[in-house]
């Protein structure tokens, strides 16, 4: 069952056509749902809808490249990217990837995801020139985590 409505898809498609510049890579870490009940295995309730949502999204533009990684099949990759929770979405461009979403990007978070994709694609952040200058001076690892809910 599709997640995005057709009018939404049309709107997004047009938005992407008008606003996307460079290609954006979306890497999704998920796990395939199992038809078997496996005792002790944790089901990831939102993995499947997240994957579907991202597949629909990436079908709307050639500039959105989706790469789906099943952490059960490729646990090495999960370790390499430091992924310990799923679903995990990493946005990046040109091999540099520093924006992550954990959990399904639903409700209010969906427009944020779209904005993130577009900003990355355009290579510009919505910061003032002064902020940009100050932020670029930072010479240590910084992790900024924002907790949100969909409503």
């Amino acid at each position: 069952m599709p997640i995005l409505s057709q009018p939404d898809k049309d709107l997004l498609k047009e938005k992407f056509e008008n606003e996307l510049k460079d290609s954006v890579d979306i890497t999704l870490f998920t796990q395939a749902s199992s038809k078997l009940f496996v005792p002790g295995r944790k089901e990831c309730q939102y993995c499947q809808p997240t994957e579907e949502l991202l597949r629909e999204l990436s079908s709307l533009s050639d500039k959105i490249q989706l790469n789906v990684i099943d952490v059960l099949q490729e646990s090495g990759k999960a370790v390499e990217y430091g992924i310990d929770r799923i679903p995990a979405i990493i946005l990046g461009t040109d091999g540099a990837a520093n924006i992550r979403y954990y959990g399904i990007p639903a409700g209010n978070e969906f427009p944020n995801l779209i904005d993130g994709i577009i900003h990355l694609s355009q290579g510009t952040s919505p910061l003032s020139d002064e902020a940009r200058k100050l932020v670029r001076q930072i010479d240590e690892e910084v992790g900024i985590t924002v907790f949100v809910t969909p409503t």
Partner: protein, 79 residues
Amino acid sequence: MENPKIRAEVIEANEFPDLVRRYAIRGVPKTVINDRVQFEGAVPEKLMLQFLGRALSKPTELSDDGELDEESEASRTAL
């Protein structure tokens, strides 16, 4: 985006209750920087930069702000 050393993560709180407990999340949005600085709500850019400066261990121009003004202090909560 502006600095490859800065990683941004958005976490959907409903799906990860253990993190909600660990960070004592009572309302969203809640932002945590380097496990050192945290604040609730959306903040203007200037304030965000002040919090960022506070979270750094090496001083930069960002950290030179000295005392936070009253409004900023109110948003900041002890970790």
